[in-house]
């Protein structure tokens, strides 16, 4: 019985996060049908996805309840690696316009 009550409590505790995540998903779909340029839409959708992802990591995966050392070990390194991948974009835009490399 104690376990049953605890499970109900934990679901009630995380219901707000659940509804925020559903709200973010609904907002993304709504915005996808608005008339934004592809770059603006990408930026908006990515920002919303990062917010949703952060909520999932901090609350569903309980990283907010762990020691800060775990957060500092895992998250900055991951963000750094993902940011480093952004160096591909200039080449991608070059290909779009079929411009050769400068010599």
């Amino acid at each position: 019985m104690a376990g049953s009550a605890a499970s109900k409590n934990v679901i009630a505790k995380y219901l707000p996060v659940y509804f925020v995540l559903l709200g973010i998903a609904a907002l993304e779909i709504f915005l996808a049908y608005q008339h934004f340029s592809i770059g603006s839409l990408l930026a908006i959708l990515l920002a919303l996805a990062v917010c949703g992802g952060a909520l999932a990591v901090m609350y569903f995966m309980h990283l907010a309840e762990e020691r800060r050392s775990l957060f500092l070990t895992l998250i900055p390194a991951t963000i750094f690696v993902l940011l480093m991948m952004n160096m591909i974009w200039s080449d991608s835009f070059r290909l779009l316009h079929m411009k050769p490399f400068p010599h």
């Binding site: 376990g3 934990v10 219901l15 659940y18 959708l45 996805a49 949703g52 895992l74 690696v81």
Partner: protein, 202 residues
């Protein structure tokens, strides 16, 4: 003069079991793998002037909406399973785990239906009726790797449920598998906007 081994040993700087830390490290490496795939997809999409935008509201986006609700709900039932396991309620843990398995199976079924719909429309790995032939390769690679994670998660949850019910697995195993399952949910939050919503047929 001489200390015992136990006194010399330092505690974990993270104060979590090694199993959980290992899962976190796996998740980080997997996140970077998915990140690389999504960046690769972004590179190709940006560099192509004729990238297809085939996803109509019905059936594709509607299907994606249902899949998203199913997967986020499965994260909630997984939280219930982890919590029930921690307080030692085996029956409740089993019910929550099987609810998660059911939702994961529904998600996988919907995803496979989506794939068959696209295949019927002529999408293949390196050809499609609409434009850049790499659309199929990126779509099937990214969603396929995610689907593989979902199916692996469903199998892992079934094994964990059986093991925990029989007493040869601990609440720690349930919690570690829960971390993996939430990660699968997290990845989907990036796959939907980047792979589906940027390619909507308006």
């Amino acid at each position: 003069m001489h200390s015992h081994g136990g006194e010399l040993a330092e505690g974990s700087p993270y104060r979590i079991p090694s199993r959980k830390l290992t899962m976190w490290l796996f998740i980080i490496s997997d996140a970077i793998t998915f990140g690389a795939l999504l960046f690769g997809y972004g590179y190709l999409r940006t560099a192509s002037s004729d990238w297809p935008t085939p996803f109509k509201f019905n059936p594709s986006i509607l299907n994606v909406m249902i899949m998203t609700v199913v997967l986020i709900t499965s994260s909630l039932t997984m939280l219930g399973a982890v919590d029930s396991a921690k307080v030692g309620n085996k029956a409740k843990t089993r019910r929550f785990l099987w609810s998660t398995i059911l939702l994961g199976t529904i998600f996988a079924g919907l995803h496979i239906r989506e794939w068959f719909g696209l295949i019927d429309e002529g999408v293949r790995l390196f050809q499609n009726p609409w434009g850049s032939p790499l659309f199929g390769a990126t779509f099937f690679a990214i969603t396929g790797l995610h689907l593989l994670h979902v199916i692996s998660g469903v199998v892992a949850l079934a094994v964990i449920s059986r093991g925990f019910s029989r007493g040869w697995l601990t609440p720690g195993h349930v919690e570690t598998t829960g971390l993996y399952w939430h990660f699968v949910d997290l990845v989907w939050m990036f796959v939907v906007p980047l792979v589906y919503l940027l390619n909507i047929s308006k």
